[in-house]
């Protein structure tokens, strides 16, 4: 089946698929973190999470066009700012969505599911009207293009490495935020016992809004990262949402480390299997592995343990 390749070539292809897996890993990780944050905090399955990712990607595209038009000299730097702007815009829209919609649908999981699904359609249509049905690509600064040539026949793309560092940095910051900040403490308390959190003095409604907003903001960063590996269309988000859900289910919603490991596993499995099998078969094989793994560890990879719980 692989007779047209030498062993050497196969080995290089394997390594390069690993690295393209790392880009996918980064996007999935960021998506999964946001989803898990929102689901863990409020029990809300955000079907529009992919569209928030697309919003982040479109924001980068918008920043890119603006820079080209009005301040071409900023070209090499705009991308870094665009990531921040994508985060801010998605977080803002997320807070608005929580305020206008989600908080009224509390305790009605099916309704939030439908509502966020409806929202995802509205957002897709909005992208179509604003940016057209065609896929768009922001102009990436030169320093992100090109690749490290490790050796003959083995190139590691710089943007992949950049995106990976970005995802890991966001994970790290989120972890510090969750475990060191006052907001993180309130968030963890609310997740563990919502009623009691109110009764000790935590404004759980406010914690919810911040959590939803933060989750959406991280989806925005995922979108910014996504622009380096693919072009953005109105339905780009919906293509990643299933994988992102898999990350959450597999990793266990309450555990950041679980999300990292499961995003890694899923992305690597997919990108390696995709080459050696083909797209759909790769996905099916990945799914199969996850289903089998979940049979043995129904609470995900890293369930937490405390006496009496």
């Amino acid at each position: 089946m692989f007779s047209q390749y030498t062993t050497e070539e196969l080995y290089n292809i394997f390594l390069m698929q690993c690295f393209s897996g790392l880009s996918l890993f980064s996007v999935l990780l960021l998506m999964g973190l946001g989803l898990a944050l929102i689901f863990g905090q409020m029990g809300v399955i955000n079907m529009a999470h992919g569209e928030f990712m697309a919003l982040g990607a479109y924001t980068v595209y918008f920043c890119s066009s603006m820079t080209e038009q009005y301040a071409p000299s900023l070209g090499p730097y705009y991308f870094v700012f665009a990531i921040g702007i994508a985060f801010a815009i998605c977080a803002l829209v997320g807070a608005l969505v929580e305020f206008l919609m989600i908080r009224h649908l509390y305790h009605r999981p099916l309704d939030t599911l439908l509502a966020t699904w409806g929202l995802s359609l509205i957002m897709q249509q909005t992208y179509r009207s604003l940016f057209g049905a065609r896929e768009v690509t922001p102009t990436l600064p030169d320093w992100l293009m090109g690749s490290f040539n490790i050796k003959e026949g083995l190139d590691i793309p710089i943007n992949g490495v950049f995106v990976l560092c970005l995802a890991l940095a966001v994970t790290l910051v989120l972890m510090v935020f969750m475990y060191k900040s006052k907001f993180g403490l309130r968030l963890r308390a609310t997740v563990q016992n919502r009623k009691m959190s109110g009764a000790v003095g935590i404004n759980t409604g406010k914690v919810d809004r911040l959590a939803f907003s933060l989750g959406c903001g991280i989806a925005g960063i995922a979108g910014a990262a996504f622009t380096t590996i693919g072009s953005t269309g109105p339905d780009s988000g919906s293509r990643y949402i299933v994988d992102a859900f898999l990350v959450v289910v597999f990793g266990g919603a309450a555990n950041l480390l679980g999300s990292v490991a499961s995003a890694f596993g899923i992305a690597q499995a997919q990108s390696i299997l995709e080459f050696f099998l083909d797209g759909t078969k790769g996905k099916v094989a990945t799914l199969l592995v996850i289903v089998i793994a979940l049979m043995f560890r129904p609470q995900g990879l890293f369930p937490s343990k405390v006496r009496g719980h």
């Binding site: 403490l185 016992n193 000790v200 003095g201 937490s304 405390v306």
Partner: protein
Amino acid sequence: MLSVQNLSVSYGQSNVIPDMSFSAAAGEILGIVGRNGMGKSTLFRALIGMLPSRGGRILLKDREITRDAPHQRVGHGVAFVPQGRMIFPYLTVYENLISGVRGKVSEEAVNEIYALFPVLRDMKKRKGGNLSGGQQQQLAIGRALMTNPSVLLLDEPTEGIQPSIIKDISRSLREIRDMKNLTIVVSEQVLSFVLDTCDSIKVIDRGRLIREDRRADVDAEQIKAMLAV
């Protein structure tokens, strides 16, 4: 300090507390005793706001808090130690203590709690869920005190706790009251604890207060008979 007027509380159709009125003065420790299922926890949940009141008013000093959300009531000076303690199991002892504090955490206040319950200092880095029942009870009281309340509500603090620790808790509560002129409302089934701790005692039966005594003139035998099933 705390005044309840014609309070009525229901779960759906079932009206567990039809019409209840009482008040507790600043610095008073009020005991509410009653058998299982008589509405003690229901009363406390309504007081802190976890359950909505169907009718009546709850006043703290002169401020009406009947419609406030739980976290707002805490902000106004009510604190709650629930039945079963409800410690956050995955937060450390220290994190549990500061979980409800608004603004900057005063380490002085934390140390005050540690002085009151030294075992909490030794275990401050442990997860709340790994503490024993008695330790969790002390943590729950400490957590409530951290928000600097003027009224402290305790729902069956002695449930499942050994006699020596019950004595400790009783002593701590009186100590706190003396220190801060705190109003304490505590529900109980264990009469000896109530007699040790409280300044006055009310008996609750099917959601109604059917008897009130100052501690000095409590007839322990009569109340015991009322608590017997």
